[in-house]
């Protein structure tokens, strides 16, 4: 992999990872043993024929590789970039036992990038069934469901409340990890299969619940868009953002290019980001690129950081300062943020996640204050309540997630769901895997 130098990349929002060259891709592909019972495929939630496409790369038949991937995954350029491969396909690769696993994600990305530059491969669609299907949300779950259901010959309408499709791919994940023209190209390819996309349509508001339940089948992919806040003093001061707001202002609205674009954002001289997951890393790295000094505050140890290792390493290289074993107790200022007071945390007994449970320290030197003018809270999101709360007969779990069976069917027979709305905040590829399953279940349901 060739990664751009940190000093250079913090000055822009261009992609950090430049991908494999053709020579290296072919070389990497020859490492694959083309296992008869490939473990890697089990690790991929959409079950791409991994040895199949890798073998095509080794033979330099890139078009065939693209066809193989596309028959199971319409968003390979996205997945090749953002899948946590180390815990999925690559985590299962047999080569990983003794040496490094085959770099499946990088190869998938290579093919997708080749395809975009050379020859777009579009899977075939079946003849029209006359069935009408509503897909709610155009994140990875909704887009995948739309692709699968269009290919099955149904007439699909996707409703999206924002002015651009993609969900978190568009408003959440920054362009230095996932360039937006790539998201657009892959979504456009799905739309070319025949689905209609209606932007600015909030289902439950712009489309009444009765109207949309009247479709032959419905797929809910409304995501985990509800940001959590810590609930501490000073949280509503000017300059405190949820990660969702901070990232949306920059990624979707391009506030980094204000005043050329109209949406403002407080860039901050010194920014505190609270949390330790991918969302926190993304927020920290965005703030860094807008010129701030950035502190990342996480309540557990560095080795417990839930973010992908590679992203933590990127953040460190880019000069983010980590304050681990610390938790904010108060945001100081008025009306604008001037500081954040934190308490140091002791690591106590192991909890359910087998990690030590963080316990606040007591005493005078347990607390410290960082002078900051912006705080970004990246402590989690929960399932989007906007639509599902308007449908009382839709069964939901304690955390607000829509309850589905193993096929993605909800408590209402013609309503299926998948992605973060069903699982709580998870990953792109799990959302896509859910959507594929639900789409087959929808086909079965419609054939009954």
């Amino acid at each position: 992999m060739s990664k751009r130098d940190a000093a250079e990349r913090i000055l822009d929002f261009l992609e950090v990872d430049e991908g494999l060259s053709e020579v290296n891709a072919v070389l990497e592909a020859t490492r694959c043993m083309e296992c008869v019972r490939p473990a890697c495929v089990k690790g991929c939630p959409v079950n791409i024929d991994i040895p199949g496409f890798i073998s095509a790369i080794a033979k330099q038949d890139f078009k065939k590789a693209a066809e193989i991937i596309k028959s199971d995954n319409m968003l390979p350029a996205i997945c090749g970039r953002v899948c946590p491969q180390e815990t999925q396909c690559e985590g299962k690769c047999v080569l990983g036992v003794k040496e490094k696993p085959v770099r499946i994600g990088a190869l998938e990305r290579f093919i997708a990038d080749w395809e975009r530059k050379n020859e777009i491969v579009t899977p075939k669609t079946k003849k029209p069934t006359g069935k009408r299907i509503a897909v709610v949300g155009s994140g990875p779950a909704g887009i995948t469901a739309a692709a699968e259901l269009s290919r099955s010959g149904h007439s699909v309408t996707i409703f999206e409340s924002l002015h651009a499709p993609g969900g978190v791919l568009t408003y959440g994940i920054p362009s230095f990890r996932l360039p937006k023209d790539i998201v657009k190209t892959e979504i456009d390819q799905v739309l070319s299969l025949g689905a209609e996309l209606k932007l600015n349509h909030i289902v439950g508001r712009s489309v009444s619940v009765d109207n949309f339940l009247a479709y032959d089948a419905v797929f809910l992919g409304t995501g985990a868009g509800l940001p959590s806040f810590m609930g501490i003093e000073g949280e509503n001061l000017n300059g405190v953002y949820s990660a969702n707001e901070f990232l949306t202002r920059v990624n979707l609205m391009h506030a980094d290019r204000f005043p050329d674009y109209d949406t403002p954002v407080l860039k901050g001289q010194k920014v505190a980001v609270v949390g330790g997951g991918n969302v926190a890393m993304d927020s920290a790295r965005v703030a860094r690129r807008m010129g701030a000094e950035v502190y990342l505050i996480y309540r557990r140890r560095e080795e417990d950081l839930p973010a992908r290792e590679a992203e933590v390493a990127n953040a460190v290289e880019e000069g983010i300062s980590f304050y681990c074993c610390a938790n904010p107790v108060r945001i100081i200022g008025g009306p604008s943020v001037t500081g954040i007071e934190c308490v140091r945390m002791n690591m106590g007994v192991l909890d359910e996640s087998k990690r030590p449970c963080p316990v606040p320290m007591t005493g005078d030197d347990a607390k410290f204050t960082l002078d900051v003018d912006v705080v970004v809270e990246a402590i989690g999101q929960s399932p989007n309540p906007l639509l599902v709360s308007l449908i009382p007969s839709l069964k939901r779990g304690k955390r607000g997630n829509v309850i589905v069976d193993e096929n993605g069917q909800t408590s209402i027979p013609n309503v299926f769901a998948g992605g973060d709305i069903a699982t709580g905040a998870a990953t792109v590829i799990e959302a896509m895997g859910n959507a594929k399953k639900a789409s087959s279940a929808i086909n079965e349901y419609l054939n009954q």
């Binding site: 924002l162 600015n200 712009s206 940001p227 707001e245 906007l386």
Partner: protein
């Protein structure tokens, strides 16, 4: 997709009325709800109240205060905006209250017609009280004459109607008769002060809060307000809330997060307006 401006006019000093074609909104809009508009590719998302809905059209009424609203006001009939999302927010509590008073201040008056009609439909007695600094800033008074059982007009300078504030009329009315529910819509400071009048009698009072929004769908938390000591997202939990529980100072602080950026943006716009953006902007 673009949304066409079917009718555009300046109905008071610097206050504009647009009818925009947006059937997905107009068919489902209820009193108290709003839309989010984005003019063009580089534009920001701004919330505006749905002031009326008829067939495929919605009406918005707005004051040109900064870059986006100034740019919007420069658009002509037949031109279009890139995005209209909605209807957003919870509809108002439209039921039979009995004797209702609706108060509009400044451009907030625009929110009253749809509300007055809906409350009349529920069988309420509806009194409108509208106020502005002077008569040139009054709007929709003819329409509200029709929609309300009684309409009182106030101006701060006495140039038309009662010389004084809507709060003065409200206080008098509270002494004279039993009022079951009050709506107050206008600038935050006006809502804060006017709603004090109903504290002693504990009269149910709604206000429509206007914090800075981005998505308007509950996804970002930009619009958070404190109501009764709890944080609420105005775009999905509101925008209407119980006036007596609102933390007004926090709201007013949060309306001023970006003063220097807003100024920069407006200055740029005033300087370049006719040269750079017009050609770029979306025509149907």
């Amino acid at each position: 997709m673009a949304y066409k401006i079917e009718k555009a006019s300046e109905i008071a000093d610097n206050i504009f009325e647009f009818w925009i074609k947006a059937p997905h909104v107009s068919k489902n809009a209820q009193a108290g709800q709003f839309v989010v508009i984005r003019i063009d590719e580089k534009g920001e998302r701004i919330p505006l109240t749905i002031s009326a809905a008829k067939d495929d059209l919605i009406r918005i009424v707005f004051m040109a205060v900064g870059k986006t609203t100034k740019f919007l006001s420069s658009l002509k009939e037949g031109e279009s905006v890139l995005d209209v999302a909605g209807p957003l927010g919870q509809p108002g509590e439209l039921k039979k209250w009995g004797n209702c008073v609706l108060i509009g201040g400044g451009v907030g008056i625009a929110c009253l017609p749809i509300l007055a009609k809906a409350l009349k439909e529920q069988g309420n007695q509806v009194t409108g009280i509208i106020g502005a600094r002077n008569e040139n800033l009054l709007l929709l008074s003819d329409e509200l004459e029709q929609d309300c059982d009684e309409l009182v007009i106030c101006t701060d300078d006495g140039s038309r109607g009662f010389h004084g504030f809507p709060a003065d009329i409200l206080k008098k009315k509270l002494e004279d008769e039993k009022i079951d529910c009050v709506w107050i819509i206008g600038p935050a400071i006006m809502m804060k002060i006017t709603s004090m009048a109903t504290i002693p009698s504990k009269t149910k009072t709604f206000v429509s809060l206007n914090p800075i929004m981005v998505d308007g769908t509950g996804m970002c938390g930009s619009c958070r307000v404190s109501v009764g000591g709890e944080t609420k997202f105005a775009c999905v939990d509101g925008p209407e809330f119980d006036a007596h529980l609102v933390d007004w100072d926090e709201l007013m602080n949060r309306q001023r997060i970006y003063p220097s950026q807003e100024k920069e943006s407006l200055d740029n716009f005033n300087e370049h307006h006719h040269h750079c953006r017009c050609g770029e902007h979306h025509h149907e």
